[in-house]
């Protein structure tokens, strides 16, 4: 059984086509990263996978069942979403935010039992924010904030975790830390990780398979060495790059060529 089975999915907003006939599969327990230039439709795709909005045509199956047959709450027990970092308008504490991850498992008032509170504590420990439970989001750095939202997603106990540019605007150490956490989730908890990213080299280091998109369409899908190569990158981004191998051997490494973008 696959985590996702995407068949001919198109999405249009008014007359503008954002996604055009995408078809691919994501296996259970896979680390799958979607890359592509700005406006390629990556975030839209991620939202459709999270059940936020419906494709204009085509079908999405989650764990073998069509996505539209799930009730919203039961889908939330399967899939967690970590959206792009945003500001907090209301002063919830870190613990309150993480505990909200238990919502799909609780009643209408979302009152956590002792077991739920324990799970929230464990999630905070896992992402390394257990020393901050009573802080407000506005008092945290970008890296800490991102780990709060990760902890909420983990606390949700999903089979699949979707992340929208979780490493954007983070420093190098935090980027690697987030990616390491995702790899642990995959290896230790057998979670399927689907991530949108702009960092091609970092993605190549972690991904089992990658999807390269441009203008709402698939350019290539496959293991990093099939995606991170000159012709595909040129086709998607329209710029010249050099590709060699990272010090880790077969994993490809991309280097942009300076001075070739201005007339």
């Amino acid at each position: 059984m696959r985590a996702f089975d995407i068949q001919d999915v198109s999405y249009a907003y008014r007359t503008q086509i954002i996604l055009g006939e995408l078809s691919f599969q994501i296996a259970k327990g896979e680390f799958f990263i979607v890359i592509g230039p700005n406006g390629a439709g990556k975030t839209t795709l991620l939202k459709l996978l999270a059940g936020i909005g419906k494709p204009t045509s085509g079908s999405i199956a989650v764990l073998g069942k069509p996505i539209e047959t799930y009730r919203r709450k039961s889908l939330a027990r399967r899939i967690a979403l970590v959206p792009q970092l945003s500001d907090a308008d209301f002063p919830f504490t870190v613990r309150e935010i993480v505990q909200a991850g238990r919502t799909p498992h609780l009643g209408i008032l979302g009152l956590p039992s002792e077991k739920d509170a324990l799970l929230a504590d464990q999630s905070m420990e896992f992402t390394g924010i257990d020393h901050l439970p009573d802080r407000h989001l506005s008092q945290l750095s970008g890296g800490e904030r991102q780990r709060v939202f990760l902890a909420r997603a983990i606390c949700q106990e999903p089979d699949i975790i979707l992340l929208d540019e979780p490493t954007a605007a983070l420093d190098l150490a935090h980027q690697v830390r987030i990616m390491d956490l995702m790899e642990q989730l995959k290896k230790k908890r057998d979670m399927t990780v689907v991530m949108v990213s702009h960092d091609i080299n970092l993605s190549a280091l972690y991904a089992d398979r990658m999807l390269l998109m441009a203008q709402g369409k698939t350019v290539a899908v496959g293991p990093p060495e099939a995606i991170v190569e000159k012709t595909s990158i040129k086709a998607a981004y329209g710029c010249d790059v050099l590709v060699d191998q990272s010090p880790f051997g077969t994993i490809p490494r991309l280097t942009p060529v300076p001075g070739k973008y201005l007339p």
Partner: protein
């Protein structure tokens, strides 16, 4: 075992505390007035039960008590309305007036008054119908996919509200002198004509709304975290938003028909309570219910005590206190 750190513990503790505050405010409002304090009359009434008579007793039980209870209902409704709108718009500075719902209710109510209709069902029905129509218009303007974006709803509401204000002024300019005083006084918030029947009828409408809002309190928590996050956590966002708008529209229009437009309570109370007890709506809903009620009872008491002769609408007091507080909060939130 309920500890004060757990959510149920916080709910119980806050409710008891503010319920006590409301009881105290009601006691003060009944005993205090233009004729000085009436502790003697209260003692007498307690000793003789319903047998106690005399002008003092009439003032206490037939004028001051219904007025204080109506003030409590109004304060609770406006505070809760503000709380809901702040969650819906993810904007801690929103209040029920901002989406034009109360403006719409006011237009309906003024039309009702102009035609000389009774408060029930005429004025109230028209107020609710108009506020529903306005809400429908706001939703339509902000409709489709973009309802999930807070700005489109806010913008549509501000436009529609401005339109309602113009219609209200237009209607006032049309109305005869005999009704003008009534309309103007009502617009500023008028509690002076309260009677127990009115208080009871309003309670029948409000009580189910209050219960429903408490049931939706955790949904409001999720909404403040963003529509997409709420959806990903299993909330049916559009359904909940429409429900919240309907409930709020019903209770606001019912109270507007009774008490007119009383500003700033919906802004000040939720904000103040959030500063004191945090942003969890499961605690804030009961807190706004009782705290908002107590606040308006005290505002109305102030209005009565200040204006020894004649009457001062409670809306004057809430705006005199509310506007400076609003500006203070706005300046602070910029930093």
């Amino acid at each position: 075992m309920i500890s004060h750190r757990s959510v149920p513990g916080k709910i119980v503790l806050t409710t008891l505390l503010l319920l006590g505050g409301l009881a105290l405010a009601l006691f003060l409002a009944v005993t205090w007035g233009a004729t000085g304090n009436s502790f003697g009359a209260i003692r007498e009434a307690l000793r003789h039960g319903s047998d106690a008579t005399g002008p003092q007793q009439t003032i206490l039980w037939q004028i001051r008590l219904p007025r204080a209870l109506l003030a409590a209902e109004l304060g609770a409704t406006l505070s809760l309305g503000g709380l809901v709108f702040q969650a819906l718009l993810r904007n801690p500075l929103a209040e029920p007036y901002i989406l034009g719902i109360s403006g719409g209710a006011a237009v309906g109510a003024i039309v009702g008054i102009m035609f000389g209709l009774a408060r029930y069902p005429g004025v109230t029905g028209l107020a609710f119908a108009a506020s529903l129509a306005i809400m429908g218009l706001v939703l339509f303007l902000a409709s489709g996919r973009r309802i999930l974006r807070k700005d489109s709803l806010l913008l549509a509401g501000v436009m529609v509200n401005a339109f309602c204000s113009a219609v209200i002024l237009f209607l006032i300019s049309l109305s005869q002198d005999s009704r003008l005083h009534q309309i103007m006084f009502w617009l500023m918030g008028d509690l002076s004509l309260a009677d127990m029947g009115q208080v009871g009828r309003l309670a029948v409408i409000l009580a189910p709304c209050f219960i429903a809002l408490f049931m939706l309190s955790h949904a409001m928590n999720l909404l403040t975290m963003g529509a997409e996050t709420a959806q990903a956590l299993g909330l049916r966002v559009k359904t909940v938003m429409v429900l919240l708008l309907l409930i709020t529209s019903l209770m606001i229009s019912a109270t507007v028909a009774h008490c007119g437009l009383v500003g700033f309570v919906g802004l000040v109370m939720p904000h103040l309570l959030r500063l004191l007890i945090g942003p969890d709506h499961r605690v804030l809903v009961p807190a706004c219910l009782f705290g908002g009620g107590a606040y308006l009872v005290l505002c109305d008491l102030t209005a009565r005590v200040i204006s020894q002769q004649g009457e001062m609408p409670v809306g004057v007091v809430t705006a005199l206190i509310g506007a400076p507080v609003f500006i203070y909060l706005l300046r602070r939130s910029r930093h």
